[in-house]
Symmetry: C2
Subunit: 625 residues, 2 copies
């Protein structure tokens, strides 16, 4: 027994107030689908009416995509020790292609389950694991290819549309045409479109049958750009309770998926707590845990140990596995002259193994065996880029692109098994080389979703790599990347704390949204338009609440104009009350309404008249209310 269990008991039963406090100015809504158990969560932001000074009108509430799960739902009861409600359980069961197992299939899992020393840290109340019936394939891709639209697919269609039907026409019409580089952007996402994209392998729905608590989401270039947050402890720092808290915190700030990258102790138990309490898909890198099982000696890893780890994690409910099966023996020497060699942890483990055994890795040699496991639980592949560049100098080199070719070959094998697959990407890449990465990935991987870390566009800003990488992330998202793995300010320096997670997610939500705007996703600009309208009309609270981080915006505003009255002030601290750039426009607008802006001549003539009126009225844009 050590310090962690007791801390956990305290913290696990009650999340700290700051991770579950209500998000200002908004409420949880659920949009029902074709059956009552399809209830798609969204966050609806309520807006104040426009002041009469600006013409006075009601502003329709705006529904936004919501990853925060039950934690921001006042009607939900949160009990971390019981976990979330398994909303997909009946969908999975009714397909009739799975069985409930009598116990865990993995040897390691069983050992942990019966170890009394772990009683205090073990998550207690999980359901028995499920597995596909012998010979069955339970992946969403398999269903999609057989023409079946699952409830998951319908859920996703509703979710992606973000109630576009409720967006005012004014906001919709104000959207600039996008430039999508060949993406197939839809005006309205239908369940059939979701099915078709999954069938083609252009999108994945990571949702293990053992993670029925997950709210379905999709990753693909023809859908909204997603972001992933990494959490996880290491031998040096951080315990279980802290990781669960980070999970909830990450989702609050918009993480679409979360990877648990723990390498420290209680790796199995930490994961169970995370999955049982996560409405977002959870990804892992199973080789990390396999390495722990051989005490860190990479060369002692075996297929048997790795296989048992995959089954252990698949039965816990991990939704996607990063598998570095593309690190081939012949690529390893290509990294020798690099500035930063191999920087992927998984890649370095496999490279070490390959060197020690002088043969291709068990991940590569047993790839079809891995597919068999993936399809029995519907775990998606995230084919890892073990040779990604760790510096600008190493970008787009032979090692990186050699591995990418292999990932393309493996994608085709996975698809043969109807196993959902995405591809991981770099890393550190200067701006002029980013598009080559995206184009090559689309080409060699048959448009399987790309999932990139950044890329970081320069190496010279440790402490600010959320920014160096948000630049690259926005660009590659625009070019067609489906999911962006966040980078926090602590990248290269240390493990992120809660504030770093928030900073990293905000940078990446910005990048993802900027990409959606640039690609021209219908309705994507509605939030920008609503926020800018609020800004122009000095509806301060609405401006804050429509932003990605209402609390931060409000705090910053209050630093210079703290009084409540200033929240409806028709000026701000930048220009002061004396004059304000926004004031003039209302006058122009009033004038245009009277004379019609389409008629330039009439306007020019009317100017003289307006000029004297304007001066006669005291040259004040606003009259006193």
């Amino acid at each position: 027994m050590n310090a962690i269990p007791s801390e956990l008991q305290q913290q696990a039963e009650q999340l700290s107030a700051d991770v579950v406090r209500p998000i200002p100015g908004s409420r949880k809504i659920h949009v029902e689908g074709s059956r009552p158990d399809i209830r798609v969560p969204m966050r609806e932001i309520t807006l104040a009416p426009t002041s009469t000074l600006f013409g006075g009108e009601d502003n329709a509430p705006l529904a936004v995509y919501d990853c925060s799960g039950a934690y921001t739902d006042p009607d939900a009861t949160i009990d971390l020790a019981r976990g979330l409600s398994p909303l997909r359980a009946s969908w999975i069961a009714e397909r009739g292609d799975t069985e409930v197992l009598a116990g865990l299939s993995s040897e390691f899992g069983r050992k942990r389950e019966h170890d009394p020393k772990l009683d205090a840290v073990r998550f207690g109340s999980r359901l028995q694991p499920r597995r596909a019936l012998n010979g069955a394939n339970v992946t969403q891709m398999h269903y999609a290819r057989r023409g079946i639209v699952t409830p998951e697919m319908e859920f996703i269609a509703i979710r992606e549309n973000q109630r576009i039907e409720a967006i005012t026409e004014a906001h919709l019409l104000r959207q600039h045409p996008g430039h999508s580089f060949g993406a197939n952007i839809q005006k309205l996402i239908t369940p059939e479109f979701v099915r078709d994209e999954v069938a083609r392998g252009r999108a994945i729905i990571p949702n293990n049958i053992n993670h029925p608590e997950s709210e379905p989401m999709i990753i693909g270039r023809n859908f909204l750009t997603k972001v992933n947050a990494n959490i996880g402890n290491s031998a040096v720092s951080s315990g279980i309770a802290e990781e669960v808290e980070k999970l909830v915190w990450s989702m609050r700030w918009g993480a679409d998926t979360v990877m648990d990258l723990s390498t420290g102790k209680h790796i199995h138990e930490t994961r169970e707590w995370i999955i049982r309490n996560s409405p977002v898909p959870i990804g892992t890198v199973p080789i990390y845990q396999a390495l722990e099982k051989v005490d860190g000696r990479a060369e002692e890893l075996t297929w048997e140990i790795f296989r048992d780890t995959l089954i252990e994690q698949a039965e816990q409910g991990v939704d996607y596995f990063t598998i570095h099966a593309g690190v081939l023996l012949r690529y390893v020497p290509l990294t020798a002259k690099r500035v930063t060699g191999i920087v992927s942890r998984g890649g370095s483990i496999m490279a070490k193994w390959c060197l020690a055994h002088h043969r291709e890795s068990f991940l590569y040699e047993h790839f079809e065996d891995i597919c068999e496991i993936m399809k029995a639980y519907d775990v998606a592949f995230s084919l890892g880029d073990g040779l990604r560049p760790g510096s600008i100098a190493d970008a787009n080199d032979a090692a990186q692109f050699g591995e990418l070719e292999t990932l393309g070959e493996l994608t085709k094998i996975a698809w043969k098994h109807d196993v959902q697959t995405m591809i991981e990407g770099p890393g550190h890449v200067p701006m002029q080389l980013i598009k080559e990465n995206m184009d090559k990935q689309l080409e060699v991987c048959g448009e399987a979703p790309f999932y990139t870390l950044g890329p970081l566009t320069t190496d010279i800003a440790p402490g600010y790599d959320h920014i160096t990488s948000a630049i690259g992330a926005a660009m590659i998202g625009w070019y067609g990347c489906a999911m962006l793995c966040y980078v926090t300010p602590k990248e290269h320096l240390g493990l992120p704390n809660k504030n770093d997670v928030r900073e990293g997610l905000m940078a990446y939500k910005i990048a993802a949204h900027a990409a959606d705007l640039a690609k021209g996703h219908p309705g994507a600009q509605a939030r920008d338009n609503a926020l800018s309208k609020a800004r122009f009309e000095f509806r301060w609270e609405d401006q804050f609440n429509l932003g990605l981080d209402p609390e931060r915006a409000s705090e910053y505003h209050d630093e210079t104009l703290p009084k409540d009255a200033h929240k409806s002030a028709h000026f701000c601290s930048m220009c002061g009350p004396h004059f304000c750039s926004m004031k003039i426009t209302q006058d122009v607008r009033d004038y245009a309404a009277e004379h019609g802006v389409d008629e330039q001549v009439a306007l020019a003539e009317g100017m003289a008249e307006k000029a004297s009126e304007f001066r006669a009225a005291g040259a004040e844009v606003y009259r006193k209310a």
Copy 2:
């Protein structure tokens, strides 16, 4: 008398310790030019030797561009009340085309000078102002067009090269080819190239003859991308002492120019303190002060008041003026249907004036008169985009592009007078519309330098607009923008404090450097390469010191691994001491050194031998020292 003077006296005499503390791991150097008074400042970062584990070698120090002036020079004596040493004074005097005036030419300036109530806030010890001799033109463009290479131009050539001759060949060879969209990137900047670019109008050297304290710098697409920081008080907040402190702070974090956007009281005196203590060019928006002179009533502005303001500021030494002469009457109604109307303060003042008078502004009508003033002091134009979009919805609209066309016409008029000119740009622009801005600006303004605010790539992140805009800034910098005006996290919410200035500048130094890398500026990648090499070799201090913010990097590292011993640790808190992705590479490298990486077959054969060696040696990458 009010509270500000006494505060000022205290603070002005001694800057706070955090703005002048030495920058870790580096020293000030001066590179001498063709004459001993051309002494170009740089910051040289000293590097530790590589540990013997990684082959042991010395690492050459790296010189980086340095905007921090005398404030980081231990040999300099700082006395804010006396101002900086006027390093360009003799260059200006020896040209023999200027005269020292007996007193200030501006009526307002003289009034302030003799107002005893201002004694306590007035900067005391300035030199008498200079002006061109009657009929003379003292702009750098004028000299350039007559084939004269000024000391300023030579200074700049040395500065831009950043001692490229001292960069090791390994770092230089490791640079990726850039993609410069038609820029004319040089392998080595010569004084003659500087002259030629200034003569063509493709670059400007903002350095008023009344600001001899300035260290010459250049703004143009064929030079390093520059960043500007805005400071300045408003009626609501901030006083003189705080602004001087912000100036020094901004330069410390890399501001290439600083704009004083004060709109509050003591606007004249604040500016004097700033200029006398600034080694970087200072820009202003003279209409702000002119407006103060008419108590904020835009319609009461006159050419006479504005003209006196220009002369007042020109004789103080302002290096560039933002002039919103492109806001024409016919463009104003085009803003009426915008979501956010007119968001530029200067633009809104001029629009109000145009509405009130029903005629074109005095800025437009007196543009050639303004040119006469500019060339008498060598003040550069920064032609303001008064109609820039304030929201994504308003990007690239008829009002914005109409004004840009007019700015192009005005550029040609300014060039007729040999007045240096740059063009201001937006604003809020989604990614897919950024390039159109750059291309159109280059086309209609004859490649005059573009100077953009961001652009912000989405409206939905108040509190994080340094990031929404750094994305757009990096992209437009790559496409050809010459200077990026920073945005701080407080944008739209309040005035930036010192921390916001730091955050904003770091985001923009990243954007500018990412742009330089992408354009392929020779030597630009050397810093990335040196930092990544340090990172790979676990030279922690070197990694921090090569970064844009050594202090922040070091603090972040210490949060999880605080002990000094960890600064040379061959692991970090992300993976812990147990295994580390970087460890494996050295082994691969050793192997490659033995067998030669070019020979794939030999490598494959050698693998078996290596594998057994590797295991026999304990499968440890590093042996104990």
